[in-house]
């Protein structure tokens, strides 16, 4: 990276007189660095094989392995019930898509209300704070039970009894509270001087928010929001308690029929197939966002 010719600061301030040739010292340094890197990689690979392979060997040769693998890893049976579980997982995906869209809109609205200073919004500010405090503090399972069983018990005409819809609403209620807080904290980290600069250019309050504050805030909260998305995907499995036939419920039905737990393992694998790539992606986004903040933080 240290090549001066890579600098793109317009006209080159110095003329190095043609191609740069690394000195003997630098060549020796690079060779040493390279051999050290190779040695480190070999050590990492060998030690990984020894440790992980050893653990696997201990597991497989232990006396309980036979019954364990019959109960959890009966692959033939697993493949047999897989279509039903995948079908159920479709419900989890749909629920995730609908819920995340609603959560994004509602979470942003609540964050905006909570960060606004307009006196007209004062009552809404109080309500929004109350809402966030309450639903961040209750286990989501309770919210699902309250909404899923409680609302039908009211027997109000015109209100749905559809457990899928009620389950989705419960998920939305809970996650909106989390996401609103994440976005609000993002808005609060943008320095007031940015808003002052926007306002002094003649931008209205709303325009300053729209073009200056929110874009920067969103960049900062993308990693935590992606984390919440992963959590949301997993938590859609909780609505199975209402009798919604999602992946978890499909696995439960299959498992209770056969007294074998492989369907649960299959469901777990399907969840992992989606969540692991997303988690890796989140990590990468986070790393990049930290790099960017470090880069601008100096200025």
């Amino acid at each position: 990276m240290g090549r001066p010719s890579e600098s793109d600061s317009g006209a080159a301030p110095y003329d190095f007189g043609g191609e740069w040739v690394p000195s003997q010292l630098e060549i020796a340094r690079r060779a040493a660095r390279k051999s050290r890197n190779i040695r480190n990689s070999i050590i990492a690979v060998v030690s990984s094989i020894v440790v992980i392979g050893g653990l696997a060997l201990i597991a497989v040769t232990s006396p309980g392995w036979k019954s364990l693998s019959d109960t959890f890893f009966a692959w033939a049976y697993g493949v047999e019930v897989l279509p039903k579980i995948i079908l159920g997982f479709g419900t989890n995906v749909t629920l995730t898509l609908i819920a995340s869209t609603c959560v994004a809109i509602l979470g942003l609205s609540i964050a905006l209300v909570r960060t606004s200073r307009s006196p007209a919004l004062a009552p809404f500010r109080i309500l929004a704070t109350l809402y966030v405090d309450i639903f961040r503090g209750i286990p989501m399972l309770l919210v699902i039970l309250l909404v899923g069983f409680g609302i039908p018990a009211l027997r109000i005409q015109g209100l749905t009894n559809n457990v899928l819809i009620l389950g989705t609403i419960a998920v939305i209620i809970t996650y909106t509270a989390y996401v609103a807080e994440v976005i609000r904290s993002g808005i609060l980290t943008i320095h007031p001087s940015q808003r002052a600069a926007a306002r002094s250019l003649g931008l209205s309050h709303f325009q300053s928010l729209r073009y200056v504050v929110l874009p920067q805030a969103f960049r900062r909260v993308t990693p935590p929001l992606l984390n919440d998305l992963v959590a949301l995907i997993k938590d859609t499995g909780l609505v199975s308690i209402l009798g919604v036939t999602d992946a978890v419920r499909a696995a439960q039905i299959a498992s209770s029929r056969s007294f074998n737990y492989t369907p649960y393992v299959m469901a777990a694998i399907i969840f992992l197939l989606v969540t692991i790539p997303l988690t890796r992606f989140t990590d990468r986004t986070l790393r990049r966002s930290i790099e960017r903040q470090n880069a601008t933080g100096v200025a």
């Binding site: 317009g10 250019l201 003649g202 931008l203 325009q207 073009y211 960049r219």
Partner: protein
């Protein structure tokens, strides 16, 4: 004599019980530059923030183009469209390229088309030698370049009056000159300005009038030669002496 661009009358400003500005009166004729000097904490930034309506004043009035902008029914957004301000700390928008920083206000505030706004922005960048930085993000620019972009951003809306608050004090000494020469160019083109600065040499070059601010009051004012070379007040002399001692030899 035509009507002054800016007229400040008996302005008073306090933060809680601390009076920061008191009995401030001055006027700025068109195409002239008024420079405020004074020690740290004397109220220079506060004065500029008040003129830009970023801070509320306690008493007095500020008249811009014959219109009292501190009147109860004044339209703050409309007033700010006539004023440009450049801060000590640049405050460029880090998530936007240089060109977008400059075109944002012309497009969103003045309703100019994107093409026209970009064309005008490129013209300004050209003139101040920043053409090749248009597509960069601010964090890839040097401090001096960032500050010049901030100046261009504030003049892209063609303000009636430009407020500059110690725009070089966050810069390396070597970068100061490029920014100051940008301001000198603006002065030559006839921009009306109010500045706060610690650079006495620069003040001498651009100022039509120099005001010495001391504990929130204008203690002395007059031509640059008069104030900077033959001040009448003891406090002004003391201040200038300290500046020269601390100054870049």
């Amino acid at each position: 004599m035509s009507q002054p661009v800016l007229e400040v009358k008996q302005l008073r400003k306090s933060y809680g019980s601390e009076v920061v500005l008191e009995d401030i009166s001055f006027s700025v004729p068109v195409h002239t530059a008024t420079v405020f000097i004074g020690s740290s904490g004397s109220g220079k930034s506060t004065l500029l923030r008040c003129i830009n309506l970023l801070d509320q004043i306690d008493d007095g009035s500020i008249v811009l183009d014959g219109e009292d902008i501190t009147a109860v029914d004044a339209d703050v957004d409309k007033v700010r469209r006539k004023l440009g301000i450049v801060f000590q700390s640049f405050n460029l928008f880090p998530h936007m390229k240089v060109i977008d920083n400059i075109t944002l206000a012309p497009m969103k505030v003045q309703g100019i088309s994107k093409e026209a706004a970009r064309e005008n922005a490129y013209k300004l960048l050209d003139r101040f030698g920043l053409h090749d930085k248009a597509e960069n993000y601010p964090d890839r620019l040097s401090g001096g370049q960032q500050q010049r972009v901030a100046i261009i951003r504030s003049i892209a809306v063609a303000p009636r009056l430009l407020l500059l608050d110690e725009i070089t004090s966050a810069l390396d000494p070597v970068l100061v000159n490029e920014v100051l020469s940008t301001v000198r160019d603006l002065k030559i083109e006839g921009m009306t300005m109010v500045l706060a600065t610690h650079e006495m040499g620069f003040a001498k070059q651009v100022a039509d009038e120099v005001c010495f601010l001391h504990h929130g009051k204008i203690l002395e004012w007059g031509s640059p030669a008069q104030i900077l070379e033959a001040p009448a007040q003891a406090e002004t002399k003391e201040f200038l002496k300290r500046v020269h001692e601390a100054g870049r030899l």
